[in-house]
């Protein structure tokens, strides 16, 4: 007596179950919330306002950052000084940096750099 039929269909059933499990495996979800774009736009806003107002006091830069990003840590480089802001939130792996160039009062190019640890 040959029982090949039984084993073959058992094999097929197991394959089907395996295919189903693979099919149901969770896929990585793409971030559709445009969170990064909005974050970058807010960073640009800060840089544009800073470049326009030219008030590079440590306190002013820090308070602006805290007002716009109350739950994020970051770093600001402006007028030759580097300021770390809200370090209590820690530095995460995901880091976004934006810069703006402007002509200073001495007619030389200057740069403001803003980094956010998201």
């Amino acid at each position: 007596m040959k029982n090949d039929g039984f084993y073959f269909s058992l094999d097929a059933a197991l394959s089907l179950a395996l295919i189903t499990i693979i099919f149901l495996a969770p896929t990585q979800q793409a971030d559709n919330s445009m969170k990064d774009l909005l974050l970058q736009q807010k960073m640009h806003d800060l840089l544009i306002v800073w470049a326009r107002q030219r008030d590079f006091s440590k306190q002013e830069l820090k308070s602006d950052f805290e007002f716009v990003f109350p739950n994020k840590s970051g770093a600001i480089t402006a007028n030759g000084q580097e300021i770390e802001v809200q370090t209590q939130f820690g530095q995460t792996r995901n880091k976004i940096t934006e810069t703006i160039n402007y002509v200073g009062d001495d007619l030389r190019f200057k740069q403001i750099r803003l980094t956010i640890f998201d």
Partner: protein
């Protein structure tokens, strides 16, 4: 014709068929669930996209007829629109015409601004309920001769 294999084959066939039905059912349920999720995510993404672009237009353009599309300050002396400098007088006009708060597929539920270190001020707010998101931008708020830094927030919602 009766053979010794009959019962074994019938049980085997039954098990395989049941498993096939179960797997097919699970796969179809998963597809249905995924399609619904993709549809919801797509609507949310479109809403976020519309909100982000609307707010970008608001802080960078100047439109006297429709301030929601542009409330940036127009500097008459320099003959140019100053991006990220919002004319509060113009922004306050956004509360006037409700048809201008309605767009294709979404509407603006509220507009507010908050000068740094002060309480937020609401320009208009509708009581409609739907799926909404808030978009925030930072700018210089220019009100007459005074100017201060602050945030502008718009809440945009999907039409039902």
């Amino acid at each position: 014709m009766k053979t010794s294999k009959g019962i074994a084959f019938a049980a085997d066939f039954l098990t395989a068929t049941m498993l096939l039905f179960c797997c097919t059912l699970v796969i179809f349920a998963h597809i249905n669930n995924s399609v619904e999720k993709i549809s919801t995510d797509y609507k949310k993404m479109r809403l976020a996209e519309n909100g982000v672009f609307l707010m970008d237009s608001l802080v960078k353009n100047n439109d006297e007829n429709n301030p929601l599309m542009g409330s940036a300050y127009f500097n008459g002396r320099l003959k140019r629109v100053e991006q990220n400098v919002v004319d509060i007088g113009l922004l306050k006009k956004t509360g006037g015409k409700s048809e201008q708060q309605q767009f294709n597929g979404f509407f603006v539920k509220s507009i507010s601004f908050q000068p740094k270190g002060k309480d937020p001020q609401i320009i208009f707010e509708k009581m409609q309920h739907s799926t909404c998101i808030g978009i925030e931008r930072f700018a210089i708020l220019k009100d007459g001769f005074s100017q201060e830094k602050g945030k502008i927030t718009a809440v945009v919602c999907n039409e039902k």
